[in-house]
Structure formats: C-alpha cells, structure tokens
C-alpha cells in the first residue's frame, strides 16, 4: 500500500469550483458549436435513438428530432451551463438537469449511427460534479451552508479522475482482445495514422515518408497502450502519475497533429483531475484574498 499523500488530499471549495468552471465551460463551448439543428433537418428514418432515448415513444422521438425542439434544447443547455459556470441558482438541481439534457444532446448527435467517444469523459466528469457542492466558491451567489466535510470537495475530484483513467484503461483492454499482440507488430498504427491524416488534412503521411518518425510511432503505440492499461495506478502513485501524464499527453498531442483528432477536452480534464493544479490555483486565490483583507 502506498504511503505517499494521495491526489487531491488538500482539495478545497476553490479547487472544486475550478473543476466546475473548467468542465462546464468546456461543455458550453462544445454545445454552442454543435450542429444540432442540422441533424434535425435530416429525415427521421436516418436517425436511430440510442441509450435512454430508445425509451421515448415514436411521436416523442419525432418531436425531439425537429429543428425547433433541438434549438430549444441547445438554448436551454447554454442557459444552464452559463448559470453553472457563474454559480447562480441552486447548483445541484441545475447541474442534474443539465446532465440529463447533455445525455439527450449527445445521444442525438450519435443518432446518425456512428458512436464517437470524444465528449464522454467530459460527460462522466459533469455527472460526478453535479452531485457535489461545486458552487461553494468562485460563484456569484455562493451556496449558503455551515462547515462542510472536506471529503465533499476531495471525493468528486478523485472520482472524476478515476472515471477518466478508466476510459483509457478500458480502451487498452479492448485493444489487447481485438488486435492481440499482432496489432503492435503489423504496422496497423501507421495505416490508421496515414488514413486519418490523408482524409482530414493532418500530417499522417509524414511517418511513411520519414521512416524514423514511423519507427517512433510503431514503438510508441505499444508503450502508450501499456500506459493506458495502467491508468488507474496514476491516481494513487505520484511518481508514476508524472511519467503517465508525460506519456499520455505526448501521445494525445501527437495524435492531434497526425490524425486531426482533437484531445483538447481530455488534456484539460487531465490537468484538472490528475494534477494538483486546482489546489495550487485555489491556494493562490485564498492567499490573494487574505492579502487584500490585510490591506
């Protein structure tokens, strides 16, 4: 058992508030830029309900797929997300309602029949935050309450970090099952990188033209997969976490450049939930507040 201090051991109301602003801020950017209304202009037979949306009766599904309803959904989400970022209104009620709307919105986006994973880690983080007192600090109207148990600030940061780590680890378990060891030896990764790079205008053909770069990718693929598999360890072991962050962040930046797959959201989630940045920022804010009060 590790004796080192665990991640987020000194989390405060400020550090959880920073996580709130980061996560719901990314969601605001994401929702504001979504082509939801365009999906509503597609014929309904091309859209297949997924997850909880499958429970809707046909008439309700048809109503949901119409551009006016999707516009209302988008507007509601934007209003709720702004309220959550600013910290106005009853946080948990608005946050829970927002998470329901986000599941609907993300389900709609995937109703065209292609499952992407881009925003899901962010969705799990939002669900975790929605259940905890994230608006006790850095809020226009902070929640009124007596002293809180510090575990209520620490647990959501650890839990969101855990769900993020699990998304990496589960990805690696599937790769070992579906691709076996052969996937690391047969140049599959170079083929995927070239395909996405050529299709989307990334630098994916460079490793074919420059074999030294190709070798880095060929070696990096199994290395990053092993690190993905070991992701849960990063939550509990500080030294391993530093190496893990360096490997995973480099891997994601390389994938962004070569394959034009954006990992901005994941990089922000890593900074918030797998580093002590929220605590450092929270401590800095508290220190500034004390200095201001003294003067």
């Amino acid at each position: 058992m590790s004796t080192e201090q665990t991640l987020h051991h000194d989390a405060s109301a400020e550090s959880l508030a920073i996580a709130r602003i980061a996560v719901f801020g990314m969601w605001l950017w994401n929702v504001a830029n979504a082509s939801l209304v365009e999906l509503g202009r597609l014929p309904i037979p091309l859209l297949e309900p997924i997850g909880p949306l499958r429970l809707l009766p046909a008439a309700a599904w048809a109503a949901l797929c119409s551009p006016p309803t999707l516009l209302v959904l988008q507007a509601c989400l934007i209003a709720c997300l702004i309220a959550l970022i600013l910290g106005v209104g009853p946080f948990r009620t608005i946050a829970a309602f927002t998470c329901v709307l986000l599941v609907v919105e993300q389900g709609m986006i995937r109703a065209v029949g292609y499952m992407t994973h881009g925003e899901l880690a962010m969705l799990y983080a939002a669900i975790v935050l929605a259940a905890f007192p994230c608006a006790d600090a850095l809020a226009l109207r902070p929640a009124r309450h007596g002293p809180r148990d510090p575990v209520l600030y620490r647990a959501p940061l650890v839990a969101a970090g855990l769900t993020l780590c699990l998304t990496y680890a589960l990805c690696a378990t599937h790769r070992f099952e579906a691709g076996g060891l052969g996937i690391f030896l047969d140049g599959t990764i170079l083929s995927r990188v070239a395909l996405r790079g050529a299709e989307r205008g990334g630098l994916g053909l460079l490793p074919i033209d420059h074999p030294w770069l190709g070798w880095i990718i060929l070696i990096g693929f199994p290395v990053s997969t092993v690190f993905e598999l070991l992701s849960p360890l990063a939550l509990f072991h500080r030294r391993f976490r530093h190496v893990w962050l360096a490997v995973i962040a480099s891997f994601q930046i390389a994938v962004s450049a070569l394959m034009m797959i954006s990992f901005r959201g994941n990089l922000v989630l890593l900074a918030i939930f797998l580093t002590e940045l929220p605590q450092l920022a929270g401590a800095w804010m508290a220190q500034r507040r004390r200095m201001r009060m003294r003067t």
Binding site: V112, H174, D209
Partner: protein
C-alpha cells in the same frame, strides 16, 4: 477473454485500494451509490454490446482492429446547377457536417465497396440525398443537381510510392 480478465484485474485493484475504500466510507450512502454505480456502468457498458442500448456507457473500442490492405477513404461533393462543387465533409475549412455524420458516410461507403448487394449502396445514397436536401438552400438560386463520389487509396504496400494517394471517381448520383 483477455479483455474480461484485464477488466477484472482493474476492478480488483480498485476494490482492494484501502485509500479508495476509506474515501468512499467517508461519503454518505447516496454519494457512494452514485459513484460506485458510475464505475460499474463504465465496465458494463464497455463489455456489453455496441453501446446503442447502454449509452452513455459504451465500449471503448478505438483502434483495436488490425488494418488489412491499403487504407481507403471517400470524398463526396455536392454539385450545384452552376457547376460549383461543395465538399461534403466534417473536417477542414469546407466542413459543414457533424463529425459523426461524416464518419457514418465513410463507413457506409466502405460497406458499399465491400458488399455486392444493393442494401449498402441504397443506405449510402439515401444518406447523401438527405444531406443534399439539408444543404439545398445554402447557396441562393443555385440548387444541388448531383453528388459526386471519389475513392482515395493510400498505396502503403507499394514500396516505391506509398504516399501517392490514388483518387478514383466512383459515380455520380443525380438529384431530382
């Protein structure tokens, strides 16, 4: 089988972490149930099915399949009455599709290329026609009249010219 074993090992690791257990025990039963349930659903969604039923808990199956043959992708363009061609894509400066729809078109086109039946072709053409209808009014007085499809092949197995992408015009779909 190996996936199940690895998932079991990860779950066992988490369950046996004393610090994690102590943290959970400091929480109320509601918080414990929510966080525990979330983790369980992540595993269940990953191991069960395609995610269509369990969304937002889905299989994390990116880049798990081995590549076979030269990589292939497709390009689509909306041809307007004036002869102007607008790319139908979810990426780059000409982007006007949600990325999920772009990926759906790519997978339908691959299915079409791989199958000898008409069902995959019909599904691809129906989706492309629907996209054309959505974008019919994007350019005033210049309605779409057809859709062009090209197939691009990256000849990775051609040792001499592995990055000379070969582009082949597949067909033109006339719009009513």
């Amino acid at each position: 089988m190996i996936e199940l074993l690895l998932c079991g090992a990860i779950a066992l690791y988490l369950v046996t972490r004393r610090d994690l257990r102590e943290l959970a025990l400091q929480l109320g039963p509601g918080h414990r149930a929510l966080l525990g349930g979330l983790v369980v659903l992540l595993f269940v969604g990953h191991l069960a099915g395609s995610g269509k039923h369990s969304f937002p808990f889905v299989p994390w199956d990116m880049y798990g399949e081995r590549a076979q043959g030269d990589p292939i992708f497709h390009r689509f363009a909306l041809v307007r009455a004036s002869g102007r061609q607008d790319p139908i894509t979810g990426y780059g400066p000409g982007r006007h599709l949600p990325t999920q729809l772009h990926q759906r078109l790519q997978s339908l086109a691959i299915e079409d290329a791989a199958s000898s039946g008409d069902a995959a072709r019909a599904a691809l053409e129906e989706t492309l026609r629907a996209v054309a209808r959505v974008h019919a009014d994007d350019v005033p007085d210049d309605p779409p009249v057809a859709i062009e499809i090209w197939r691009s092949t990256i000849p990775l197995h051609d040792a001499a010219h592995p990055t000379d992408v070969r582009v082949e015009h597949l067909r033109r779909i006339e719009l009513p």
